[in-house]
Symmetry: C2
Subunit: 218 residues, 2 copies
């Protein structure tokens, strides 16, 4: 994960950015949205840190990977910093998504408003289950898998979501990559075999519960 830092349009540095920094950046931006919504103009690193539950040096360090956004002695302009963080995360645009798997998880993701709030929108749902194809999930129709490449190309989609059973996940991933997707969010509980240049993130909904149960029994 690299940082391309720009000054006056010229790339100045390339550094490794911890993934935890990106996760926190996402949290900062969400907290800044709330501050902005509440009409707050200026925020300090320590207020932001408290709001998100981290160290204030952490906040300043995280931001410093990407530039200088504050004013010494004053703090950060909420609106500006919000825009900067969104821009850094790539959220200053819409991201159309395809979703494969129209089961429980897939259906939930279709109606999940949190995605829309951050500029993500599922534009196509696919399944190979004949009993599901043609059905509607909200405004979306479930298409057969064969249509996947077409929709990806039509909407210039970069990101796909896998919400199929473990046994089908690798095959779906292969088709996604063949169709030109560059990133995959995988809800199937399996480690996918994926080329280096394709980005994958796994989401396992039960892992966090298991961290809790570990704590409870320890």
């Amino acid at each position: 994960m690299l940082s391309l830092k720009f000054e006056g349009g010229i790339q100045v540095e390339t550094r490794k950015i911890p993934e935890a920094t990106i996760t926190r950046l996402s949290q900062y931006s969400k907290y800044l949205e709330r501050l902005d919504y509440n009409g707050i103009d200026i925020v300090s690193s320590s207020e932001l840190a408290e709001g998100v539950g981290v160290n204030s040096a952490q906040v300043r360090k995280d931001l410093s990977y990407f530039g200088e956004f504050g004013t010494r002695g004053i703090g950060y302009n909420v609106k500006d910093l919000l825009n900067y963080t969104l821009k850094i995360l790539g959220l200053n645009r819409k991201w159309p998504l395809v979703l494969v798997g129209a089961g429980n998880v897939g259906q939930a993701l279709c109606s999940f408003k949190g995605f829309n709030e951050r500029g993500f929108s599922i534009v196509g749902v696919f399944d190979n289950d004949l009993t599901k194809i043609g059905k509607r999930i909200g405004k979306l129709e479930v298409f057969p898998m064969e249509k996947l490449p077409e929709v990806i190309k039509l909407h210039e989609i970069k990101i796909g979501i896998i919400a199929v059973p473990v046994r089908a996940a690798q095959e779906v991933a292969d088709l996604m990559i063949k169709s030109g997707l560059q990133a995959i969010l995988n809800f199937a509980r399996v480690t996918l075999n994926i080329p280096e240049n394709i980005k994958v993130k796994n989401v396992d909904l039960s892992v966090k519960l298991e961290i809790l149960t570990f704590d409870l029994v320890t």
Copy 2:
């Protein structure tokens, strides 16, 4: 997060366990389930590492926090190691859960099979929305919030899931804690104010997508 290591029933050591170790332990156990399902008896740390996508020293280190489970020169017995990892994670028992919030996310969690596979079962769904109370989600009926303390006590529930809008999340958390819950899985995108002795994990479904978009624009 502490490790209580036992030998012959006597506590030997107390050490800090990285949370990442617990997450990997969860992955190991899932991979071991598949090996067991496929009739494989013995696995080495390097096979396990490859299956989960980590370093083999990592696997041995992770396991070493909890004991010695392998045989030098041979490897690990799949069934035994599976049982050990499940025991460590506290998954050698059932975990009844309460869920507050019968919106999209809540409904999805009710029908999510992945929880059941790991011994979790939602035994009560609660909401304060009159249009939702009394409705059915699968086999569950949506109860009014007032019933929450009663159900928690009746089933001796330790873990609650919050799937309500941001504005309601803190209030729900407070009620959960007052009713005796010890751990909370929070799907609301807000940092909850919680006493030290209560364990909380936040799940943000869009964060991983944002890590992907960051990568894509970088």
